[in-house]
């Protein structure tokens, strides 16, 4: 989606990042002393979720850039840290949680990049392992044409002994990263889905083949990779389709270079259902066999989730038995019944993934 309006918080008007972005974006500029006014304007639109994709606000992140993953109660979180470089996304996936996570959702880029770098430094010298990603509140690579924040971060993480960066995307915008000296500290990650889900639910994203091709290019440039089958969406015949995705993936990607693969099924807060119904009236995804999970989110009936997970895990393990597969926000019961163990048997999910980061990214085991 094309950015048609650029709002600039007057506080950051003179920042070099702001000036740089203004040169890259060909859109009318409006300066504001009160960003809340912009939020109110977006909220007042008939389709605020679309309006928020056509406007970009440049402002300062007044809070912390680094946050722990919000997770939810009763389900196991991977313990990843979110680096909040910006919010929302120019692509338009029907199931996107960001449509209801921000009030209202508005493309926002934090231009106080220097503050972000300053905030990161102590984490690099801490004794703990940090897995840090920018793909929770936005797509990690969609900003590259606006401001090359991912490229800057790749350089910053390179050679760090106890930290890895995960860049998660549905784009193919990798060209700016290929020549960088990443030293294995950046994991390039793609969200994968069946061709049907991509075609019907992920508007404006790269196709499956394009994503896997971009991943193979990154692999040839030495980047460790990760893949996220999340959200997996159930429909008749989906097990075979997800199996096909696995086949396609491993026909192009060497499993030895995959740090991890995550699986998560479609889950949503009830208010997202209303947005999907309004914005994507042809989408059928909210009419699945959902129950209210222990965290209040709608989830597929557990036996249905388990059946789907078992099918895809067996395909992955059939081809790449050594690749680490984990679940995003599932309980011990699901882990045990699909994988045959619970994370606590191996020190917990964060520890399992930390060990993967040590192995694939060359971190210091400490």
């Amino acid at each position: 989606m094309k950015i048609r309006k650029l709002y600039i918080d007057r506080e950051v008007a003179d920042f070099p990042e702001t000036i740089d972005i203004c040169e890259r974006i060909n859109a009318p500029v409006e300066y504001t002393d009160e960003p809340n006014r912009i939020y109110r304007f977006i909220s007042s639109q008939d389709d605020p979720e679309s309006a928020g994709k056509r406007a970009l606000l440049l402002t300062r992140n007044k809070g912390n850039f680094l946050k722990t993953c919000p997770g939810t109660t009763h389900y196991t979180c991977c313990g990843y840290h979110i680096l909040h470089v910006g919010s929302y996304c120019t692509m338009d996936c029907s199931y996107c949680i960001l449509q209801v996570y921000f009030h209202p959702p508005l493309l926002t880029f934090f231009v106080n990049v220097r503050d972000m770098k300053k905030e990161l430094l102590p984490y690099f010298s801490s004794g703990n392992i940090y897995r840090i990603g920018t793909g929770e509140f936005t797509d990690s690579l969609m900003w590259e044409t606006i401001y090359p924040v991912a490229s800057a971060l790749v350089g910053m993480f390179a050679g760090r002994e106890r930290a890895v960066l995960e860049l998660k995307t549905k784009t193919t915008s990798v060209s700016s990263l290929l020549g960088l000296n990443h030293q294995g500290n950046t994991i390039m990650a793609w969200s994968l889905n069946t061709t049907r889900v991509i075609r019907e639910q992920e508007r404006g994203t790269a196709t499956l083949d394009e994503r896997i091709h971009a991943a193979s290019i990154c692999q040839s440039h030495g980047y460790p990779l990760a893949f996220h089958f999340d959200p997996m969406i159930w429909y008749p015949g989906c097990e075979a389709d997800y199996g096909d995705v696995v086949e396609t993936l491993f026909s192009k990607i060497d499993p030895a270079g995959i740090a991890w693969i995550s699986l998560g099924s479609f889950r949503f807060m009830p208010q997202l259902g209303e947005v999907i119904e309004r914005r994507f009236p042809r989408s059928r995804i909210i009419h699945g066999e959902f129950i209210k999970g222990m965290d209040g989110k709608m989830r597929y009936f557990k036996p249905l989730r388990i059946g789907l997970y078992k099918a895809i895990v067996s395909r992955i393990k059939g081809i790449a038995p050594d690749v680490t597969v984990y679940f995003c926000m599932e309980d011990d019961d699901t882990w045990d019944r699909v994988l045959g163990y619970t994370p606590s048997e191996y020190g917990g999910l964060p520890a399992i993934l930390d060990r993967c980061a040590i192995r694939h990214c060359g971190l210091n085991a400490g």
């Binding site: 059928r284 066999e289 209210k292 009936f301 557990k302 388990i306 309980d331």
Partner: protein
């Protein structure tokens, strides 16, 4: 503010179709529903004169739609009415129209909706609306007026069904997302079977989802088996039909889940639990925790059942049930 002046005029110069200030529900030209008022006027005449507003070529009614209709039914040739001062603005007339109705009786949902929507339009400010409406006898919140707006845009038969208590406003508003014929079909079903509000919501959301997934309309869904067979079944009372509809809609909406539960209960029966002992599945099977209930009335019975439970713990059928092996069958 200048008050009204009284005049006598022919009912023929009053535009009965001009609804600008109408709050009360429609009543047929036969006067159905205003019989008591007709009889009262026949006996003692009109006590409170209707208020009219002058307009090009005649008059529009501000207050007194029913009184004027009753007079027409009685064939009264000359009516005594009060005429709004020409200085009155639309809002002045509207306030009187709302107050005249709200102070005389409890307004129905639809009447409240009409009052709120008309006041909002004339007021032009949502923020001032609750304060404006309160002294007129109408309690409105910003959230409610939004819903009233939507209600007034629905087809008239659905509005009427809400007014008659046949369906809740919430269910009616859900119907606005449906195509006209589907909304009418669902409304007709509810009018016929009169399910509770909760059951209306359950049935409607089930019908919507099944229709969407099957790529057919609700009309098609309701007019094909198995649902039409239930609706049209002779000799079955409406409560039974509602239960049968709910069961079938649940099966169509959640085919995997219902099959799973069926298998679970079949399996549970094969466990052959001792009398007074029951096992409940985890809620929605989301948590892995089952619940065991043991009825007993004395320590001897408790001991006996404890022994039976001990034996039960070793049964492979129970082991298989708790492992939910039924998933793979």
């Amino acid at each position: 503010m200048t008050d009204t002046s009284e005049i006598s005029l022919s009912p023929d110069v009053i535009d009965m179709d001009d609804d600008r200030y109408r709050i009360s529900g429609a009543f047929g030209s036969s006067g159905a529903g205003i019989g008591a008022l007709v009889e009262s006027i026949r006996a003692i005449g009109v006590i409170n004169f209707p208020i009219l507003e002058k307009k090009p070529g005649g008059y529009r009614i501000v207050c007194g739609f029913k009184r004027i209709q009753a007079c027409r039914i009685l064939g009264i040739k000359v009516l005594r009415c009060r005429i709004a001062d020409p200085s009155w603005r639309e809002m002045d007339c509207l306030k009187r129209a709302v107050s005249d109705n709200a102070m005389a009786r409890h307004l129905s949902t639809l009447e409240q909706a009409r009052a709120a929507v008309k006041l909002r339009l004339a007021c032009g400010s949502d923020a001032d609306l609750p304060e404006l409406a309160k002294p007129l006898g109408v309690e409105i919140s910003a959230d409610l007026v939004e819903k009233y707006e939507r209600l007034c845009r629905l087809p008239e038969d659905i509005q009427q069904l809400v007014d008659d208590g046949g369906i809740s406003m919430k269910v009616a508003l859900e119907m606005e997302k449906l195509d006209g014929s589907s909304a009418a079909a669902a409304a007709m079903l509810f009018k016929r079977l009169r399910p509770t509000v909760n059951h209306q919501q359950e049935l409607l959301s089930g019908l919507k989802a099944i229709a969407a997934v099957s790529d057919i309309s609700i009309v098609q869904l309701l007019s094909s088996p198995p649902l039409t067979d239930i609706i049209e079944k002779n000799g079955v009372d409406r409560k039974t039909k509602i239960r049968m509809l709910r069961d079938d809609i649940r099966r169509l909406r959640y085919p995997y889940m219902t099959r799973f539960y069926d298998r679970f209960y079949d399996h549970l029966r094969s466990v052959d639990l001792p009398g007074g002992v029951s096992i409940a599945a985890p809620k929605d099977f989301e948590s892995p925790v089952f619940t065991l209930t043991v009825d007993f009335s004395n320590t001897e019975e408790l001991r006996r059942k404890a022994d039976q439970l001990k034996q039960l713990g070793g049964r492979s059928e129970l082991e298989s049930l708790l492992k939910r092996d039924i998933e793979d069958t």
